[in-house]
Amino acid sequence: MKKIKAGRQPNRSLAGDIGVAIVLIIFGCFFIFPLVYIINGAFKPLDELFVFPPKLFVRNPTTKNISDLFLLMNKMGNITFIRYAFNSLLITVVGTGGHILVASMAAYVLAKYRFPGSATFFKLVTVALMFTGYVLSIPNYLIMTRLGWIDTHLALIIPAFASPMGLFLMKQFMESSIPDVLIEAAKIDGAKEGRIFFRIIMPLVKPAILTLMIFSIQALWNNIGTTYIYTESLKTLPFALRTLASGGIARTGVSSASQLFMMILPVTCFMLAQSNIVETMASSGIKE
């Protein structure tokens, strides 16, 4: 699996290859540990969850945790599980789509053009990255009240559009991976700005877009959102799961099942997109 193809690099010794493989495997284990732990935890029967010292792998796998989760879900009153899932999905899909579009449009301009104020604006964005969310929560609440967005999904979706981290990463990717010559060539051929952006730039930065997508999905999908939303039928899935899981020590099984549950969407998206994210970002369309 992680074996080095021997002879690929003739100037490196076998010992070097083995060393690299060992380092990669050790740290690979670190990285994969949480995933393995969550998956195993969801299938552990209650007595195994409390074993000390804890075991990583499950001995007698059971689906009781998961069926308990659904059982509790159905008991929760008149709001169905599907409704919570739909709310979260809506917020995630619209928020992510909007964020990618808005951030890449702004990033394209900042990366490839100079106009009055562009440099200052980017500096401002970098500064804004550093500010912690908690303090902004009250002023943000006041703004939402003024806009009349309290208790609507807009309050969760729209602010996600203008998240500065997306712009920051996108601009850096565009700056380093799109040659100016390409844009000039398109201009000479008569392409307008909109066309250049959607037909040339966006396909080229696909890996960066997918990376951003993962970020955004992961942030929005885990959004509890109770600050702005009070109507039960508008609340999100993480909120519902958290409520279920917080029922004391007897709910430990349910809680570990819900962790697995929350993980499914981001991990699936990542699996689908991963070859694009982690494979080459060097395909700039111009051969040297």
């Binding site: 992680k2 995933l35 550093m130 500010f131 850096q172 991963q274």
Partner: protein, 302 residues
């Protein structure tokens, strides 16, 4: 990096298109970040009380909140110092680790895609799940207990630590290393994005450069320092900024907990705002200095 399309008659058209493209972001940015930012600054100068409705009443009290942050709150300054110390420790470690990992992952070997995917996993799992996992995870706390127990007796690392620390050259350097080894897991988990950024940077370096260098008789060591390092220097800047930001805004540090508690437990909005602003300004200063230094030797290849 010459980004500008330099024809003068085009410049005006460019500006208009530019503003159009950037307008949605600016609107959102101003509305949801700049305005709240100023509002929170104003709050930090006020005594804020929530009135019975949905509103808040401000009473201007000048710099009193800031005075309280430094002289009245017993925990803030020590927490801040610990946080900065940790940052000085973690940020270089994360950068070196991710750079090293990126170079390894940039090699050609079987199953490369799979290994890279594994290294990106923490990013996917982060925030919600990971934080939950780390705070209420019986396994990790169990492991910590075992390690602690071991350390009080005679474990190898502890003995080694003692030997190193009691030696003549026992100094901060060893403490730094030991602390790093203790927290290698934290470092590894926090470097997912940085690895990807470095990796994408490494892949933009044209192989023909290495070939040319090889023909000229460069050793691999030389081409690393003369080609790889300068070519990736802009990515180093990106990663430094990203790492510092990521580190100082993560929500599970003591300082963050203090700030959150002031907000949600004590309901002292003014004081919270002041605390955040102090932190914000300090981080900004650090970031400004560091990026100023790095920008001076970042090499842009045209």
């Amino acid at each position: 990096m010459a980004k500008t399309v330099k024809h003068k008659n085009l410049a005006k058209g460019n500006a208009i298109a530019g503003y159009l493209f950037i307008a949605p972001f600016i609107i959102g940015f101003v509305l949801f970040l700049v305005v709240p930012l100023f509002e929170s600054f104003y709050m930090s100068l006020c005594k804020v009380t929530s009135t019975n409705g949905a509103g808040f009443a401000y009473k201007f009290i000048g710099m009193k909140n800031y005075h309280d942050v430094f002289f009245k709150d017993a925990e803030y300054v020590p927490n801040l110092l610990t946080e900065l110390k940790n940052m000085a420790l973690f940020v270089p470690a994360i950068l070196v680790f991710s750079f090293f990992m990126a170079i390894l992952l940039n090699q050609d070997f079987k199953g490369r895609t799979f290994v890279r995917a594994v290294y990106f996993l923490p990013v996917v799992l982060s925030s919600g799940i990971m934080l939950g996992l780390e705070t209420n995870n019986s396994l990790l706390s169990g492991m910590a207990d075992i390690i602690k127990k071991d350390n009080s007796a005679t474990s190898i690392t502890k003995t080694l630590e003692n030997i190193l620390l009691t030696g003549e050259k026992a100094n901060t350097f060893f403490e730094y290393i030991i602390k790093l080894v203790d927290q290698v897991y934290d470092v590894a988990i926090a470097s997912g994005i940085q690895i990807i950024i470095f990796l994408s940077g490494l892949q933009t370096i044209s192989p023909s450069m290495y070939e040319a260098a090889k023909i000229e008789g460069c050793t691999a060591w030389e081409s690393f320092w003369k080609i790889t390092f300068p070519m990736i220097s802009s990515m180093i800047l990106v990663n430094v900024v990203y790492t510092i930001v990521d580190f100082c805004t993560k929500s599970n540090s003591d300082l963050m907990t203090l700030i959150t508690n002031t907000l949600f437990v004590k309901f002292d909005y003014g004081l919270t705002a002041a605390m955040s602003w102090v932190y914000f300004v300090i981080i900004m200063g650090i970031l400004g200095i560091i990026s100023f230094i790095i920008t001076r030797w970042v090499y842009y290849y045209d």
